[in-house]
Symmetry: C2
């Protein structure tokens, strides 16, 4: 068993504390099931939240983008950051409005992102593509030096991290269970659909095996 | 036609500016298609991002939760906030790694949230439930005074707002279109599944008509 993350005053789940999780297995599973994170940062005292794709390698969380991006230009100065990943799993319908809820799995990671050095960028980007589409990196037109230069890759150590999870049916007040009100869960799932070829795709270009799969859960 | 939002230096989409949208129709449609937002705020100079459910009424964005929530206790002091809503619509697979992308619709709203006064809370919460499940509010066990007191509702005016949208196939370098590399879009959809009754549901409790629908797109 891996060592769990140590909750800090900033990451310990206080309200409904039984939803808090600090074990690496849970945190990794939530992160690895996702594609889009929300990155929080502060400019001139004002909070900003930017959605971006991310990937995990061990205890490092990576994200990337254009070197001209405001978010990346700011964060590469090694300022405080907060990364959030959320999976919305369902509506929880209770017998009172008060006990309505949401089923979800989320991770919050606090820390400082750092620039991935130039000589490690390509390995990191390959890791990102291969994680999503195993085998694709080798098929692509190779990156040019200019493209690599125009791309900023950041990574943040997973150190101050917590997960929060709600599953299952509503929890109503005991006396409300006898009421004739429908209660339960309306599940929500994210699906990857059938590949849609680029209208400009060369005729007879085969569908790669990593895309030849039926609809499956995504983020 | 409604008056568009006026882009500010903080909300104007600069990089790939053609993805920026400021018209109310687009912003409203993105907000109304979602359930979960990510709220950014600053405590002691550190950014935090908290996922929470939200709803829109006209040019006001609402969210709520336990009065004990750190996020709500902080934001009700009328400090700067950033609310982000993102729909992940697909993977965009190009012929080079560099032109891979994500199809998405997102909204960023900057502003200051304010407490909804006690005498308006119930109307706001009814609006939230009815927006999702028309007819449900009147069926529920009515809220108690204690429950209303334990719930904080915030709202923020939609003033400094922008949307960002990417749709369609990859945009490759012209000379790359001839390469025999599969390119296109892998669409991603969010679906609401069949209702799952609470194991403690009273026998013969009918499924309400607002839940009696087949799977449909959600957030």
């Amino acid at each position: 068993m891996a060592v769990p993350f140590r909750p800090t005053p900033r990451t310990r789940v206080k309200r409904i504390h039984e939803r808090g999780r600090y074990d690496r297995e849970t945190v990794y599973a939530i992160l690895d099931a996702g594609v889009i994170c929300h990155v929080g940062y502060v400019i001139d005292g004002h909070p900003y939240v930017t959605p971006t794709s991310y990937w995990r390698h061990g205890d490092l969380l990576y994200w990337h983008g254009s070197s001209a991006s405001r978010m990346l230009r700011h964060l590469k100065q090694e300022v405080p950051a907060c990364v959030e990943v959320t999976h919305f799993d369902g509506f929880v319908l209770a017998r009172s409005g008060f006990h309505h809820s949401i089923n979800y799995r989320s991770v919050m990671a606090l820390g400082t992102a750092r620039l991935v050095p130039d000589d490690e960028k390509l390995v990191a980007l390959e890791d990102f593509v291969e994680r999503l589409f195993p085998g694709r990196w080798g098929e692509l037109r190779p990156p040019t030096r200019q493209e690599v230069k125009a791309t900023t890759v950041l990574r943040m150590a997973l150190e101050e991290v917590s997960a929060k999870v709600r599953t299952g049916p509503p929890k109503d007040d005991e006396e409300d269970y006898a009421l004739p009100i429908w209660a339960g869960v309306l599940p929500v799932t994210t699906l990857v659909g059938a590949p849609q070829p680029d209208p400009r795709l060369e005729a007879d270009t085969p569908l790669p095996s990593y895309l030849n799969r039926s609809a499956e859960p995504a983020s």
